[in-house]
């Protein structure tokens, strides 16, 4: 088995003359966690669907676990686990029944599935909920069940489309911990997310997409260093336009998002001096993070 889990070369896809994925190429190594970031409509879900053979590309070549997709997508799916963006559990079924029914879709026998269920329930921390109906579970439990369901066929590769969207911080941290466990077991993960913290914590490498193109790619910390590389001041309150004029001479770059001014400055002290005595402002200084990278790369029209 080669150590390349996913390989996309020049992949394009349009819907009704709208280019959704535009000549995309990237490679994910086996055992790696690869993140797809990008604003709503960037094409993240479309890419995950293409990996599963659920959306044929207009052009380009896709190889997943050594198999050409969509030509042999069915075979590839046998070794892939999927957490979709939108919940598609069987709500009238119990937790156990969901796993049982799903295992059958992989051609597993009842005894094989029943043998796998206790481990999966333990993994998802749902032991006490085995016989509860899905519609009685909390959002976090449902998501963990979806993750457990994705593991029923003992996949090598996990395709996770926004696995923690809509979850509270506890639920999110629990999922992250579970995902790290899976990575430690050697699984490959491709993950889309809107949480920069999630990407920073989990991903070995990630790419930022916009309009179906990669606009940046690399290791999270390398990207932060490369795109930002200096401390950040977040300034709330006050008029962003006026503030910008005031601090512009002392900043490398200024980004306005909503009513917050993000000021990137190698010497933040100089900026603070300008703002001294302004009781209407709240200023927070912090190291740069992936959110700054995201805002910089995708925030071109945030100002208006």
């Amino acid at each position: 088995m080669s150590n390349i889990a996913i390989d996309l070369t020049g992949v394009s896809k349009s819907y009704d003359d709208k280019v959704v994925v535009d000549g995309l190429s990237f490679t994910v190594a086996a055992g790696e966690c690869f993140g797809l970031l990008g604003p709503n409509g960037a094409g993240k879900s479309t890419i995950t669907r293409m990996l599963l053979g659920m959306a044929p590309p207009d052009a380009g070549k896709i190889t997943v676990l050594g198999m050409p997709v969509p030509a042999r997508a069915r075979l590839a799916r046998g070794r892939i686990g999927v957490v979709p963006q939108f919940d598609n559990l069987e709500h009238a079924f119990t937790v156990r029944e969901n796993l049982l029914v799903f295992g059958r879709y992989f051609g597993m026998s009842r005894s094989e599935i029943e043998a796998a269920i206790p481990t999966l329930l333990e993994f998802a921390r749902l032991e006490s909920k085995a016989d509860a109906r899905v519609n009685t579970l909390s959002g976090g439990m449902k998501r963990r069940l979806t993750l457990a369901r994705a593991l029923i066929n003992d996949p090598q590769l996990l395709v996770l489309d926004e696995p923690t969207t809509g979850l509270d911080p506890h639920a999110r941290h629990l999922i992250w911990e579970r995902l790290r466990l899976l990575l430690a077991r050697g699984k490959t993960i491709i993950l889309t997310t809107h949480f920069m913290e999630e990407a920073e914590r989990l991903c070995d490498r990630l790419c930022v997409l916009d309009g179906g193109r990669i606009i940046a790619e690399g290791r999270p910390h390398a990207l932060i260093e490369e795109q930002i590389g200096c401390p950040v001041l977040e300034i709330y309150g006050g008029n962003p336009r006026e503030l910008r004029a005031l601090i512009n001479p002392y900043a490398e770059r200024i980004e306005v998002s909503g009513e917050t001014v993000f000021c990137y400055a190698t010497d933040p002290e100089q900026v603070r001096v300008q703002l001294r005595g302004r009781a209407d402002l709240r200023v927070l200084q912090r190291p740069p993070n992936l959110e700054d990278v995201f805002l910089r790369l995708t925030g071109r029209d945030m100002e208006n």
């Binding site: 659920m54 044929p56 069915r74 799916r77 598609n88 009238a92 029944e97 059958r104 879709y105 051609g107």
Partner: protein, 262 residues
Amino acid sequence: MVEGWAAAMPANAWNWIAVWRRNYLAWKKIAIAAILGNLADPLIYLFALGFGLGIMVGPVDGASYIAFLAAGMVAASAMTSATFETIYAAFGRMHSQRSWEAILCTQLTLGDIILGELAWAATKAFLAGTAIMIVASILGYTAWPSALYALPVVVLTGFAFASLAMVVMALAPSYDYFIFYQTLVLTPMLFLGGAVFPVSHLPSAFQQVGRFLPLAHAVDLLRPALLGRPGESVGLHIGALCVYTVLPFFLSAALLRRRLMP
């Protein structure tokens, strides 16, 4: 394009069973209500029309009207239960419940799902059709053992109507469109297909149309079987129902592939 077709066709001869079993599990949870609901409607028709009208119309085609009607009601209930299972329940699983989307991430293909849904709808048709046959038999309106020939016909009728409904479902943007299929296709078919009265009473233009309807083929197979008479053109009727099963299957597979795997 060949690849696209592979995704829309069944991957093998047994994958569909997993879909059938999923639906069976869901049905088991509400089986009592489902069976009663399935039975009530055609039985009301059978008794209301059979006894009510029967008094006025006297024997039809050499049988009591209620015995004549029984075969029509078996065919009609197979038609409606297979259709409703597809346009309401299966459409829900495809559309709002996203069950199909989950299945498409597994070893099953779209073709496996469609086949599983058709087989399930045919099962529901079988349950509904046999329930009426049993009631009619207890009351002495069916001939045994020739009524046993009706069983596979009910299943085939279920497949044909499920398959046709699958095309309707593949095209419908929402539930609201199904009422047109019910009122413009199914209800006229009940009368033109000879389920409630002999088609020979209709103007000949209607008779010509009626001959081609799937329900007419089902009725022409079921009525002789239930009345204990020799069937006519059995091969033709079975062949026609098979065509009504197979062609819409391929058409719906092509339509659903475009809809679900764009």
